[in-house]
C-alpha cells in the first residue's frame, strides 16, 4: 500500500515534501496509526507524529488523511483510497512532520472557563441532577480535545486569534447546559460580540470532522438559542 506523508524538519529542511512509503503485508483491521508505527519502526525512524491510547480516547493523533481530519488510531487503512496522503492538521504552525503547534487551540479552550462554577456553599453530598438534565450533557462532555473540528473550520482559519472555534464553543455549551453550573449569564455574555462565537457561519465542517460523532454546530445553535431566550 502506498502512503505519501508530509515531512518537514525545521532543523534541516527549507520546505516540506511529501515522502512516499510502501507498506507490504497490510493485515485485516489494521489502523492507520499501526501503519505509521510500522513505517517508523521498519523504514524511517525520523518520522514524527503524536499518538498514545490507540483507541480514540486521548485525542493525540489527529491528522489530515486524504484531505479529511481524523484520528489515525481508529481509521482502518482498508477504507482509505490509495495513495494515502497524510498531512498535519491544516492551518496550524507545523512543529515537525505531522506534529502541529496546538497552543492557540488550548488557549481558546481555557478562555471559555471550562470548569463547573457554583456560587452557593457546597453540600456534603452530591448536587442532585435529574437523568433528563444529565442527558443534556451527552454529546458535549465526550470531547477529547483532538482539534479535528477547529482546524477544519474556515472561520477559524480566517480568525484564529479571535474566533473561539468549534471545540471551545462545544465546551462552553457543556457548562451552559449543565444544570449544576451557576455562571450561565457570564458565560453567555462572554460569547457576545462579532467574533468569539458569531463568526460561525454554520458551515458544518466541524461536525463532519469530529471523530467522536459530536456536533459542535448544533452546540453553537443551542448557545445562540439560550442567548435569545435570555434577552426576551
Amino acid at each position: 500500500m502506498k502512503f505519501r506523508i508530509y515531512r518537514y524538519n525545521p532543523e534541516t529542511d527549507s520546505e516540506a515534501v511529501m515522502q512516499e512509503y510502501i507498506l507490504e503485508d497490510i493485515t485485516p483491521g489494521m489502523m492507520l496509526r499501526d501503519a505509521l508505527l510500522r513505517i517508523k519502526e521498519e523504514q524511517d525512524e525520523t518520522l514524527s507524529f503524536r499518538h498514545s491510547c490507540g483507541e480514540g480516547v486521548c485525542g493525540s493523533d489527529a491528522i489530515n488523511i486524504n484531505g479529511h481530519n481524523g484520528l489515525g488510531c481508529i481509521t482502518p487503512v482498508s477504507e482509505l483510497k490509495e495513495p494515502v496522503d497524510i498531512r498535519p492538521l491544516p492551518g496550524r504552525p507545523v512543529v515537525r512532520d505531522l506534529v502541529v503547534d496546538m497552543s492557540q487551540f488550548y488557549h481558546h479552550y481555557r478562555s471559555v472557563k471550562p470548569y463547573l462554577t457554583v456560587y452557593e456553599p457546597e453540600p456534603e453530598v452530591e448536587y442532585l441532577q435529574s437523568p433528563e438534565d444529565r442527558d443534556k450533557l451527552d454529546g458535549l462532555y465526550e470531547c477529547i480535545l483532538c482539534g479535528c473540528c477547529t482546524t477544519a473550520c474556515p472561520s477559524f482559519w480566517w480568525n484564529p486569534d479571535k474566533f473561539r472555534g468549534p471545540a471551545a464553543l462545544l465546551q462552553a455549551a457543556r457548562f451552559i447546559e449543565d444544570s449544576r453550573d451557576q455562571a450561565t449569564a457570564e458565560r453567555l455574555e462572554d460569547l457576545e460580540g462579532p467574533y468569539r462565537m458569531f463568526r460561525c457561519h454554520t458551515i458544518m465542517n466541524c461536525a463532519d470532522a469530529c471523530p467522536k460523532g459530536l456536533n459542535p454546530t448544533e452546540a453553537i445553535g443551542r448557545i445562540k438559542q439560550r442567548m435569545l431566550k435570555d434577552q426576551s
Binding site: 532543523e11 517508523k40 483507541e55 463547573l116
Partner: protein, 586 residues
C-alpha cells in the same frame, strides 16, 4: 552551554488523575507547583478508564466503607496494607462527592443521585450479596474525571509543562531528592527543575507486555527513575491481567459490561464462571476470572479457529442499556472487532492491564525505603497512583479501586507536601554530580552507530514478558524468562538511534522509555521467580496454594546487585479489627 533551571516548591511528574489531584490540592493552598507531563494532560491514560470509581455511597444498594474495606483486603489476597486500605475506603465517599462538585458528569439515578453499578469482587455485609459500589459516568468515567480535574487546575492556575519528558531524579549525598532533569520534547532542550518536594505520578507499565490495555506512553518511567535513584520497588511480580481485552488486540471491554449483566461463555456456550465461582460468577475478582478464562482456553474449550479466546455475551442486556451505559464499549467493539455487542458476543482474552507493584509509599504518599529497623521516608520524594505501591491493591486490584486510589492518595500527598513545605522553606543546594549522571543518561542517545533499533528490542522484550511472565507461571518458565530478559538488558548497550535531530524527536523519547521498560521487566521477572506461592495475580502452577506462613510479605527489588528483600504486610488497620487471611472463595 549552561543548563536551563527553573525552581518550584513542588514538582509533580505526571498529569493523570493522581498528579492532577495532588496538584489541585497544592495550587489551592497557593504552593508554587509545576506539573510536568510527556503528553498534554488530558491525553494521560486515566482518560481511558471506563467502568467507574468505588465508594460506598449506598445510592443503589445498602453499603458502607467497612464492607468496601473487607472486599479490598480479600481482593488483595491479604497482601494489601490494611491501614492504607481503611484510610482509602473511609475517604472514598467524600472524594467522590468532591469530584462531582468539581464537575464530573456522573450518570444519574431517578432521584438525581450518582449512578452506581455492580463490579467484580464487591459484596454487602462482608462477603454476602453482590454490592453496587462503582460510581460511573456511563463507561467514560476516567475521561470525565481527568477532564474535570484538569479543568479545576486551569481555574487554580497550576503551572503546566506540557510535553516535557522527565529523564531522572536528582538527589544529594544525604539522599534528599532535589527535583528532576527533564527535556522539552518540542525543542529537545534539557531543563533542570529544582523543587523542595517531587511527586511521581507517572502511571503504570502495561507496555511491558505485547498484549495490553495500556497506552503507548505507559512505560513505567517513574518506577524506573526511582530504581535508578537507589530506591527499591515493591511487589512487581503482581501484574493484573484483565479477563476481557478484545482478543488479539487488547482494547478493554470494561468489567462494567459484566456489571450491567453480560457474562462469559466458552465454545460449548457454557457460562463457565458458574464452575469457578458459584456465588459471584462473572463478577468474581479479576485474577479469578482471568485464570478461569486462561484455563478454558488451555483445556481446549476456547472459541475460534485457534481456540484462543472466549466470548463476552451482552446481547441479552438490551439495546437501551448498551446505548446508555456502555456506549464507549460498543464503539470499541465495533471499531476493533467489527461487532455490535448488542447483537453478537465479543471475542475476549486475558490482557495485561494494571501494575499492582511500584514505588513503596506510606499512606501520606511519602516514598519509603527500609533502614536497619523498619523503614524511613526518602526526604522530598512522594509517589501516588499506579506508579506507587501504598499498597491498597496487594496481589490483586479490584476494578474501580484505582481511580479511587489516585484521587485519595493524590489529595493525601498534596496535604502532606503542604505540611512538609512549612518546615522546609528553602531549596537545598543542587548536587552537580547527580545532574551530570542524569545528563549521561540523556546524552547516551547521541551516540551514532549501526546496532539494534529501539522498536526491535522493545518488541522482543514484550514478547518475552508475554511468553514467560503471563497468567500462569512456573519455576522453569520464569528461570528461562529471567535469562532472556537479562540478555535483552545486555543488548540495550548496542541500541542506536538513527534520528539525532532535536525538534520533537519521538525516537529519542522511546529510547529512554525502553531503558525504563528493561529495568522493570528485570524487576518483575526476578521478583516473580522468587515468590514460591500463588497469591492474587501471581499464579504459580508449581506452588498452587497461597502460603501465608512464608509469603505474607511484600517483595522489594533493588536495581543495584538485582537484589531482593522483603518487608512485612501492615495487617493492622487504623481503627477497626484486622481481617486475618482466610481461604478466598467467590
Amino acid at each position: 552551554m549552561t543548563l536551563a533551571v527553573r525552581k518550584f516548591d513542588t514538582l509533580v511528574i505526571g498529569s493523570g488523575g493522581g498528579g492532577l489531584r495532588a496538584a489541585l490540592q497544592l495550587s489551592q493552598a497557593e504552593a508554587n507547583v509545576a506539573v510536568v507531563s510527556k503528553v498534554f494532560p488530558t491525553r494521560s491514560h486515566t482518560v481511558a478508564a471506563q467502568g467507574g470509581i468505588n465508594a460506598a455511597l449506598a445510592n443503589v444498594l445498602p453499603d458502607n466503607w467497612h464492607w468496601h474495606m473487607y472486599d479490598t483486603v480479600k481482593g488483595s489476597d491479604y497482601l494489601g496494607d490494611q491501614d492504607a486500605i481503611e484510610y482509602m475506603c473511609r475517604a472514598a465517599s467524600h472524594l467522590v462527592y468532591e469530584l462531582e462538585h468539581a464537575g464530573v458528569p456522573f450518570s444519574r439515578l431517578d432521584n438525581g443521585k450518582i449512578y452506581q453499578r455492580p463490579f467484580g469482587g464487591q459484596s454487602q455485609d462482608f462477603g454476602g450479596d453482590q454490592a453496587a459500589r462503582t460510581c460511573a459516568a456511563a463507561d467514560r468515567t476516567g475521561h470525565a474525571i481527568l477532564h474535570s480535574l484538569y479543568q479545576q487546575n486551569i481555574r487554580a492556575k497550576t503551572h503546566f509543562f506540557d510535553e516535557y519528558f522527565a529523564v531522572d531524579l536528582v538527589k544529594d549525598e544525604q539522599g534528599h531528592i532535589l527535583g528532576a532533569l527533564t527535556i522539552e520534547i518540542e525543542t529537545g532542550e534539557p531543563l533542570l527543575i529544582e523543587a523542595k518536594t517531587t511527586l511521581l505520578a507517572t502511571g503504570g507499565a502495561g507496555q511491558l507486555f505485547c498484549n495490553n490495555t495500556n497506552a503507548h506512553i505507559n512505560t513505567g518511567d517513574g518506577i524506573a527513575m526511582a530504581l535508578r535513584a537507589g530506591i527499591p520497588v515493591q511487589d512487581m511480580e503482581f501484574f493484573q491481567f484483565h479477563p476481557t481485552g478484545i482478543a488479539g488486540k487488547g482494547m478493554l471491554m470494561s468489567e462494567g459490561a459484566r456489571g450491567e449483566g453480560g457474562y462469559l461463555v466458552n465454545k460449548d456456550g457454557e457460562r463457565f464462571m458458574e464452575r469457578y465461582a458459584p456465588h459471584a460468577k462473572d463478577l468474581a475478582s479479576r485474577d479469578v476470572v482471568s485464570r478461569a478464562v486462561a484455563t478454558e482456553i488451555r483445556e481446549g474449550r476456547g472459541c475460534g479457529p485457534d481456540g484462543d479466546y472466549v466470548l463476552l455475551k451482552m446481547d441479552h442486556v438490551g439495546e437501551e442499556v448498551i446505548a446508555k451505559r456502555l456506549p464507549g464499549i460498543r464503539a470499541l467493539a465495533e471499531t476493533f472487532a467489527g461487532i455490535d455487542p448488542a447483537k453478537e458476543p465479543v471475542p475476549v482474552s486475558p490482557t495485561a492491564h494494571y501494575t499492582m507493584g511500584g514505588i513503596p509509599t506510606n499512606r501520606y504518599g511519602q516514598v519509603v525505603a527500609p533502614v536497619d529497623v523498619g523503614e524511613e521516608a526518602i526526604p522530598g520524594l512522594y509517589a501516588v497512583g499506579e506508579c506507587a505501591c501504598v499498597s491498597v491493591h496487594g496481589a490483586n486490584r479490584l476494578g474501580g479501586n484505582s481511580l479511587l486510589d489516585i484521587v485519595v492518595f493524590g489529595r493525601a500527598a498534596g496535604n502532606h507536601i503542604i505540611e512538609f513545605l512549612k518546615e522546609h522553606r528553602y531549596h537545598r543546594p543542587m548536587d552537580q554530580g547527580s545532574v551530570d549522571k542524569a545528563m549521561v543518561n540523556l546524552h547516551r542517545w547521541d551516540r551514532k552507530g549501526e546496532g539494534e533499533t529501539v522498536g526491535g528490542l522493545r518488541g522482543e522484550l514484550q514478547q518475552v514478558m508475554d511468553d514467560y511472565c503471563s497468567v500462569f507461571r512456573t519455576k522453569e518458565i520464569l528461570t528461562e524468562g529471567v535469562q532472556k530478559i537479562l540478555e535483552i538488558e545486555k543488548r540495550l548497550n548496542n541500541v542506536y538511534l538513527r534520528d539525532h535531530s532535536k525538534i520533537f524527536n519521538t525516537a529519542r523519547i522511546e529510547a529512554m522509555e525502553l531503558v525504563n521498560l528493561v529495568d522493570l521487566a528485570v524487576a518483575t521477572m526476578i521478583s516473580a521467580l522468587a515468590r514460591e506461592e500463588s497469591r492474587g495475580a501471581h499464579s504459580r502452577m508449581d506452588f498452587p496454594e497461597r502460603d501465608d506462613k512464608h509469603w505474607l510479605k511484600h517483595t522489594l527489588y533493588y536495581k543495584e546487585g538485582k537484589r531482593l528483600d522483603y518487608k512485612p504486610v501492615r495487617v493492622k488497620p487504623l481503627t477497626v479489627e484486622s481481617f486475618p487471611p482466610k481461604p478466598r472463595v467467590y
